[in-house]
């Protein structure tokens, strides 16, 4: 899923300050799972904004709504009737959600309330970690299902650097060394032999280095 975090309240308020009415729109998919932009967080943010403007004695229409998936047009339609009554949309979707709303409601400013961070997993309640960069050439099968592109801070493909100490990355003792994980995992599944081979330079053209990507599937078109 996409993991995101709510922006600082002051930054959000500063961005919406110029509008007299704002539709605060959450997204009940990924960003709900990471407790950043689901129904609950949308209600909390809308209430906090209302209170804040009330305290300052300023009139501001703030309405909340939540969409199941902000990144799919069929779901976005749910707010179609509310949008015209508001000057701007404040989105608690990920970057894709914000841009999808802006594409659908072309005359409305759409402001992000979240910082979109990464593709990750929920490892514990309240802990999310990054484990996919979407490079477009998944080689997890060679690396014991631990991604060197994402989980090694230097994207090394041929083994750990000289900064790995006690299973920790050189950049931060809280960060596990991705290569330590790869070696442990391959040892555990009896496939450590895979690592003796030279891994040639990665083809980054399938990653974002190749420009914004898209997938076109004729068989899926209406």
């Amino acid at each position: 899923m996409i993991v995101a975090e709510l922006k600082e309240f002051d930054e959000i308020r500063e961005m919406i300050d110029r509008y007299s009415s704002v539709l605060v729109v959450g997204c009940d998919s990924c960003v709900a799972e990471c407790a950043a932009g689901g129904t609950r967080e949308t209600q909390l943010l809308a209430s906090a904004l209302k209170l804040s403007y009330l305290k300052d004695g300023r009139r501001k229409v703030i309405t909340e709504a939540c969409i199941d998936r902000q990144c799919v047009d069929d779901f976005i339609d749910v707010i179609a009737e509310q949008v015209p009554d508001h000057e701007a949309i404040l989105s608690l979707g990920c970057g894709a959600g914000v841009q999808a709303l802006a594409r659908v409601y072309q005359d409305k400013p759409v402001i992000p309330a979240l910082n979109t961070l990464f593709i990750g997993e929920t490892v514990l309640r309240g802990v999310w970690t990054e484990n996919c960069l979407g490079c477009g050439q998944c080689k997890l099968g060679y690396f014991g299902a631990v991604c060197p592109v994402t989980r090694c801070s230097k994207k090394l493909m041929n083994g750990p650097c000289g900064g790995s100490i006690g299973g920790r990355c050189e950049i931060d003792p809280e960060t596990p060394c991705g290569w330590d994980l790869i070696i442990r995992r391959l040892t555990a599944i009896g496939e450590i032999d895979r690592l003796a081979e030279y891994v040639p330079p990665v083809n980054w053209s399938t990653s974002h280095s190749g420009g914004p990507r898209r997938v076109i599937r004729e068989d899926q078109k209406p």
Partner: protein, 306 residues
């Protein structure tokens, strides 16, 4: 001889080789570099020119190599993959060879979060092993990445670094083997303070036949003070300084600690020289290059060229 490198020539003759690190200045003042370079002249077989080490912006390694060469040094161009993609790296390799540089040390580099440009993008298009293979393919097959042929192949003597003290420990010699296969001719190790662990590393390297394929140079860094020792032990990535050495430095009065650090460095050189498979010593006297001749003299290593 694969190349015209004077360092390779030194190894081929069977001489115990000496290299030292020369860090370019943080700025454009070439005189600083020239002063450092002059203090090393006649004492080393080749001089390593660092590439924005610890991710701190400094004069480019390539420019500094060229300046040091004009002084009469045999430079080793250090190249990290942190800051430049394969287009820039390969282009600089061509340029370096055209300027007369004959040695290159292929590194990944410290992460940018260590330096003074913490918000920079980390490139890491290649890793150090892939860079080794790139330089080897240029030299031996006259091709760049992707297989296109080139006009005039740079014939570099190719170096790599290895840290015998990083984890996972059993992996270090596997990685050394990978670097040898990818193209490394010589290795310079991380600074050695934990002699026991270095001996074990060398014995693994001998057992796997790597000392026959690689010239391994033992890294030595003199400690200026107990503070520097403690800093390296806790803040520098991949360092292993046993407590007994820190305690030995701490027992000495402050004004005598530099001498003690040099004494430890001299003892280290004497000890690594006795280890089978160690082909030379690489001295990294950080911002202390002028002490290198004194250290070498005390270790019984004479002036160069031999």
């Amino acid at each position: 001889m694969k190349t015209e490198s004077l360092l390779e020539k030194t190894f081929e003759k069977g001489t115990f080789a000496v290299t030292a690190e020369c860090g370019p200045p943080k700025g454009s003042d070439a005189d600083i570099l020239i002063r450092k370079g002059k203090s090393l002249l006649g004492w080393v077989d080749a001089v390593n020119v660092t590439d924005n080490q610890t991710a701190i912006v400094r004069m480019s390694s390539l420019a500094a190599c060229s300046i040091l060469k004009s002084l009469g040094h045999e430079p080793i161009l250090q190249m990290v993959t942190r800051d430049r993609n394969r287009i820039a790296l390969q282009s600089d390799l061509f340029g370096a060879y055209a300027l007369g540089i004959r040695n290159v040390l292929c590194l990944t580099g410290d992460h940018q979060s260590f330096g003074n440009q913490k918000e920079a993008v980390g490139v890491f298009d290649l890793d150090s092993v892939q860079l080794l293979r790139t330089v080897k393919d240029m030299r031996d097959s006259s091709v760049i990445i992707g297989g296109e042929s080139i006009q005039g192949n740079p014939k570099f003597f190719i170096g790599a670094a290895e840290n015998p003290f990083a984890d996972p420990v059993d992996w270090r010699v596997v990685r050394l083997g990978k670097k040898s296969l990818a193209g490394a001719d010589f290795i310079q190790t991380q600074c050695i303070y934990n002699m026991e662990r270095f001996r074990k590393f060398m014995s693994q390297a001998r057992d796997t036949g790597l000392t026959d394929k690689l010239y391994i140079m033992a890294g030595v860094t003199p400690m200026k003070s107990v503070g520097m020792g403690r800093y390296m032990a806790t803040k520098v990535a991949g360092m292993d300084i046993p407590d007994e050495l820190i305690n030995r430095m701490a027992k000495v009065p402050k004004d005598k600690q530099a001498d003690e650090g040099i004494k430890i460095a001299v003892e280290t050189i004497e000890q690594v020289r006795e280890i089978e498979g160690v082909a030379g010593v690489h001295i990294m006297a950080i911002e202390w290059e002028d002490k290198v001749p004194e250290i070498l003299k005390a270790a019984g290593i004479g002036a160069r060229p031999v």
